[in-house]
């Protein structure tokens, strides 16, 4: 029996989540609904401020850019965690854990689904931003790719950690999947510069990879400078986050095997 990762098993899991997603149009609509509402709200607020304050007139698009990038971070994690929660809700975890599917293959499938769900939710909303506010996220070019990769890596790390928690503690930990990312909202300075934070909190903020992305976005939109140094620092921190999350997941899975949590099917 080969010890290698089986792409066929990864594809089987992606196929399973795709069947689930396409079987329900309300779920598909829900993927687009909230990001669109949020983008419109922040977009109109930015329009209003731009008409009344000189700085915001120069800083065109920072709020819309921030909300679109925040959605990549938030929806990326949610896309990962919700696909995993589907297994818990349908009490299918036992079937998966006794099958030849390896944890790394499950994680790869969840990462793939996170990208698919993200594409479904982000692309229409980014197009709406062009139509309503003339803000073209895709116009950021290579910078967008750097922002996207860094945010996605953080979202996967958080998703992997939350999935481990749910595996070990059952659906009692489900709320973590919905709420854990919101601590990143004030700390990673999505809508304001890091300098706004108290000095001691700035140190914590700079420990989080998305902070570098949102600072980089403001540097690009306000000063028209692409800060590659910030992106590289974010990438380094993301590597640490990802390895830490993967180690935590494996530890929590081992603990679930010891405590009998896998037998209980998520209850």
């Amino acid at each position: 029996m080969s010890r290698a990762i089986s792409l066929s098993r990864v594809a089987a899991m992606v196929q399973r989540y795709w069947y689930l997603l396409r079987s329900s149009w309300p779920r598909l609509l829900d993927l687009v609904y909230w990001p669109a509402v949020q983008m419109l709200m922040w977009g109109f607020l930015q329009l209003y401020l731009a008409q009344n304050a000189g700085f915001f007139a120069r800083a065109g698009g920072t709020f819309i850019g921030a909300v679109l990038l925040w959605d990549i971070l938030f929806r990326g994690q949610l896309g990962f965690s919700l696909s995993f929660l589907e297994e818990m809700w349908s009490r299918n975890v036992g079937n998966l854990m006794i099958s030849p599917l390896r944890p790394i293959e499950l994680v790869l499938a969840l990462m793939t689904m996170s990208v698919i769900r993200l594409a479904i939710s982000t692309i229409p909303v980014a197009l709406l931003a062009i139509a309503f506010f003339g803000f073209n996220l895709f116009g950021l070019g290579l910078a967008l790719a750097a922002f996207f990769v860094n945010l996605l890596l953080t979202s996967w790390s958080v998703g992997i950690f939350v999935s481990g928690l749910v595996l070990r503690n059952g659906l009692g930990a489900e709320n973590m999947a919905w709420s854990i990312m919101f601590i990143f909202l004030p700390l990673t300075c999505v809508y304001y510069p890091v300098a706004v934070l108290p000095h001691w909190l700035q140190h914590i903020s700079w420990l989080l990879p998305p902070t570098y992305v949102f600072e980089g976005m403001r540097a690009l939109l306000i000063d028209h400078v692409f800060r590659a140094d910030l992106m590289l620092e974010a990438l380094g921190l993301n590597a640490v986050f990802f390895v830490g999350a993967a180690a935590a997941f494996m530890g929590l899975l081992k603990s679930a095997r010891r405590s009998g949590a896998l037998m209980q099917g998520g209850e």
Partner: protein, 251 residues
């Protein structure tokens, strides 16, 4: 020289904090046999099966399935093993065909459409294949779960209450199917059940558990003779109520 056992359990212990779920049991199952694991609620049957599958890590002792130490070497053999239980479900919003297709791919089944067609014919699932799994009756879902358990034609099949929610006719038909499958594939079957008719009909050996320990282990006729009873149900009641003589099983 006899074939190595398909399942070998040696001084297996599982403790959860203060509770001992399995208290040092040992047994070996020869290939091609059907054995029942019998016992009341909390006897340790499900925990034993979970340890055989690598779902639960033993506190002490060892489990070997098809020669692989569980759970450490589980990926060597999991593609040759399968399991069915009413307590583990399949995604309800997927159709039966979609579910079987996904599990077929997970188990590396070579020709999945042909395997699904064969299972549909064997288990009378033809009309259910394109219906959502969650919209089936509990009896139909049990048949689908059995199809999932047989998708990879396992050499070791573990069953937890395989006919729990079936009407007597369907249950009897499923038992016949399991027996034919065992014979055709020389598969080793271990089933946990409360249904004594099922056990008497299917199993050539019965392992009786109580409070995590094995209290008896023999062929059904030998058990009936030893307890002086006419049916396994009476034997079960004797053991469950602690009225029977507790026997240390020779290892």
């Amino acid at each position: 020289m006899s074939a190595p056992p398909a399942i070998a359990v040696d001084r297996l212990v599982k403790r959860y904090k203060q509770t001992t779920a399995v208290a040092g049991i040992s047994f070996a199952l020869a290939p091609g046999t059907i054995t029942a694991l019998l016992g009341g609620n909390g006897a340790g049957k499900t925990t034993t099966i979970a340890m055989l599958l690598g779902l639960v890590e033993p506190t002490a002792g060892s489990v070997h399935v098809l020669g692989a130490a569980m759970p450490r070497e589980r990926y060597r053999v999991l593609h040759r093993v399968n399991f069915e239980s009413p307590y583990v479900e399949m995604p309800r919003r997927l159709t039966v065909r979609q579910n079987l297709k996904v599990f077929g791919r997970l188990y590396g089944v070579p020709d999945i459409p042909a395997r699904i067609a064969a299972l549909a014919a064997e288990l009378d699932l033809g009309e259910l294949l394109d219906r959502e799994t969650g919209k089936l009756s509990s009896g139909q879902r049990t048949r689908v779960a059995l199809a999932k358990a047989l998708i990879n034609e396992p050499e070791v099949l573990l069953l937890d209450e395989p006919t729990a929610s079936l009407d007597p006719d369907t249950a009897d038909w499923i038992r016949g199917h399991l027996d034919r499958y065992r014979t055709a594939r020389n598969a080793t079957v271990l089933l946990a059940s409360h249904n004594m008719v099922e056990v008497e009909r299917l199993c050539e050996r019965v392992i009786i558990m109580r409070r995590g320990a094995i209290v008896d282990d023999d062929a059904p006729p030998a058990l009936l003779a030893r307890y002086g009873r006419d049916s396994l149900e009476e034997v079960f009641l004797d053991v469950a109520r602690g009225q029977g003589e507790t026997r240390e099983v020779a290892q």
